[in-house]
């Protein structure tokens, strides 16, 4: 007879309805990351630009001399999001996202996951939420907090009333950044068992496409091929969303199409790669 035979009992308790497993995956992924001190330090560092902007807003709303050269404009929020996209979003995407599926593939965990009552869609959703929470936490959340601070420091809603479009603009830009980054890194993560390789590949995609565009621009002097660069597409769309003069001559629709194609391609890769069995033809 087996050891500890008496300890096994049939379970007669409550069972959750099918369809909530993505929440379990997301919660576990988030908790796993926030238990890492180094990652918490990174999150704090990602909020340094917010602190700087908050100080600027404080001085510009309270001291007339400062507001003459550091005025709070809608463009300041766009600049803030662009800076966040340039570094914090990139680092967090690589750090959190590279191993999200690759580590599961390395440990043969997909067959464990998918033998439970959850769909591949739920699995991917759970992983997306993990990354999305951290990325929105360094884009959408601080940008909205800056708006709140602006109102608090100035003591009036004048700026907000004049720039009401900032709410959808910040939301849209943040979600665009987060969706593209998250889908791209998850797709790459699903194609490998090594998170390091995925991180290098993602950095390669981001830097290489930007470098290729940079070279073409240096040679031709035209920015009409900016759609080649993943980052440039986000910059272009950000400008349009914030009602600023677009910095590239590529039509915004082309940039949007490029982003949609990239997200669609990533979703297709995920659909192919996230399976209970690996089919080698």
């Amino acid at each position: 007879m087996p050891i500890h035979d008496q300890t096994y009992r049939r379970y007669g308790g409550r069972r959750d309805v099918v369809g909530r497993a993505w929440q379990v995956i997301a919660r576990n992924g988030i908790l796993t990351m926030v238990r890492k001190r180094l990652f918490l330090a990174l999150l704090l560092a990602a909020w340094v630009p917010f602190v700087v902007q908050a100080i600027i807003i404080y001085f510009s709303t309270n001291f007339a001399q400062v507001s003459s050269f550091l005025a709070v404009t809608a463009e300041r929020f766009r600049t803030f999001l662009e800076w966040q996209q340039r570094l914090p979003v990139f680092i967090i995407t690589v750090w959190v996202g590279a191993g999200l599926i690759a580590n599961d593939k390395r440990a043969n965990a997909l067959q464990i996951y998918l033998s439970k009552p959850l769909t591949r869609f739920e699995y991917i959703t759970g992983k997306l939420v993990v990354l999305g929470v951290f990325l929105l936490g360094v884009t959408l959340l601080p940008a909205f907090l800056l708006l709140v601070l602006q109102v608090s420091f100035s003591g009036s809603f004048t700026f907000l009333r004049q720039n009401l479009y900032l709410f959808p603009a910040i939301t849209l830009t943040s979600f665009l950044q987060v969706l593209l980054s998250a889908f791209l890194i998850l797709a790459l993560s699903s194609m490998s068992k090594s998170s390091r390789y995925v991180a290098i590949l993602y950095a390669g995609v981001m830097f290489f496409t930007d470098a290729v565009y940079g070279i073409i621009y240096a040679i031709t002097g035209s920015s009409s091929l900016s759609w080649i660069s993943v980052a440039a597409n986000l910059r272009q769309l950000g400008d349009v969303i914030f009602r600023l003069q677009p910095r590239y001559s590529t039509p915004a629709a082309v940039s949007l199409l490029a982003v949609i194609v990239l997200i669609g391609l990533s979703a297709w890769v995920l659909e192919r790669q996230v399976r209970g069995v690996e089919v080698v033809s």
Binding site: I3, H4, D16, S115
Partner: protein, 311 residues
């Protein structure tokens, strides 16, 4: 016995064909897995794992219909997976977790509330013999321990049906015996139906009541083990004086299964009832002296060899 309703089928396959990486892994398979402990037997590459993965919904059959616990695999995969536990053949775990967190996490994925999942995780880890090692990271486990934790994660949500894919792979003899004892206990004392996929005949014979034998993607035999062992064939241990190889060849030509053993004794499977007389007649005809002829109890190995041999 495993359940009160032993004859009720828990899994049914009707004319199922599965093409896997351009190869036909299962070819028009029709089989019934009754409640209790069922062995899924076959040599490597017979299609056993493919069958289990198809039942889990990982692979979609090109033709045929499969039902698990009365539910159609094609239309109710999630309902089925909430009621079954799967112990995969290959190592598998969630990276970076200790055993109790891993098993509790699997419980939550299967729909258990967090507190219940944690409590069940402790219980099943004790049950499979990992109680003392439950706070160790799974990645540091030995092969035998990894087999046990795979069983624990399959059990945590208290499934009605267990799929065990080669559960004793890589285990030492003691660990193997303990694993088989667990499997037997689950099926015969805990009322959990299970399908034990293995190429190891003694494992299946020890733990199961019924067997389905697969070979080259087709079912070649199925039924209660006792019935299969007693059916159609008589088994004899035979030692002769003379050219053993030539006589073995003659036996095969006459339609008898003949297997060499480590010693100079052959195991001969004779169809029908009058096997001893037939063997003596053949020995006389071939001018061979029979030194030892003893009826033997048919083993599952004999059934398996005959089933696969016929194919």
């Amino acid at each position: 016995m495993a359940t009160s309703n032993e004859t009720a089928p828990v899994v049914e396959l009707n004319n199922v064909t599965v093409v896997y990486a351009k190869n036909v892994a299962l070819r028009e398979v029709s089989a019934t897995f009754h409640a209790g402990a069922i062995g899924l037997l076959g040599p490597n590459g017979a299609g056993k794992s493919t069958l289990l993965k198809s039942l889990l919904g990982f692979l979609t059959p090109t033709t045929g219909k499969m039902t698990v616990l009365g539910l159609d695999v094609a239309t109710s995969p999630l309902e089925i997976r909430s009621r079954i536990g799967y112990m995969p053949e290959t190592d598998g775990h969630i990276p970076g977790m200790n055993a109790v967190s891993f098993v509790a996490y699997c419980g939550q994925l299967a729909g258990l509330p967090a507190v219940d999942a944690m409590q069940r995780a402790h219980e099943v880890l004790y049950y499979v013999g990992l109680g003392e090692a439950r706070y160790r990271n799974v990645e540091t486990y030995s092969t035998g321990m990894k087999q046990r934790i795979k069983l624990a994660q399959a059990l945590v949500h208290d499934p009605d049906l267990l799929f065990l894919d080669e559960p004793t792979n890589g285990m030492d003899p003691k660990g193997r015996d303990e694993m088989l004892a667990l499997v037997y206990d689950l099926a015969h004392n805990k009322q959990i139906n299970l399908i034990l996929s293995s190429h190891l005949l003694p494992d299946v014979e020890h733990a199961c009541d019924r067997v389905v034998v697969l070979d080259k993607g087709q079912v070649v035999a199925q039924g209660p083990i006792d019935e299969l062992k007693g059916r159609r064939i008589q088994v004899f241990e035979l030692r002769i004086k003379g050219d053993r190889l030539r006589f073995a060849e003659t036996l095969r030509r006459e339609g008898f299964e003949c297997h060499e053993t480590d010693e100079d004794i052959m195991r001969v499977l004779v169809p029908g009832e009058d096997g001893g007389r037939s063997l003596f007649a053949l020995a006389t005809r071939e001018n061979v002296q029979v030194r030892h002829l003893r009826p033997s109890v048919p083993t599952l190995e004999d059934v398996f060899a005959k089933a696969v041999g016929e194919e």
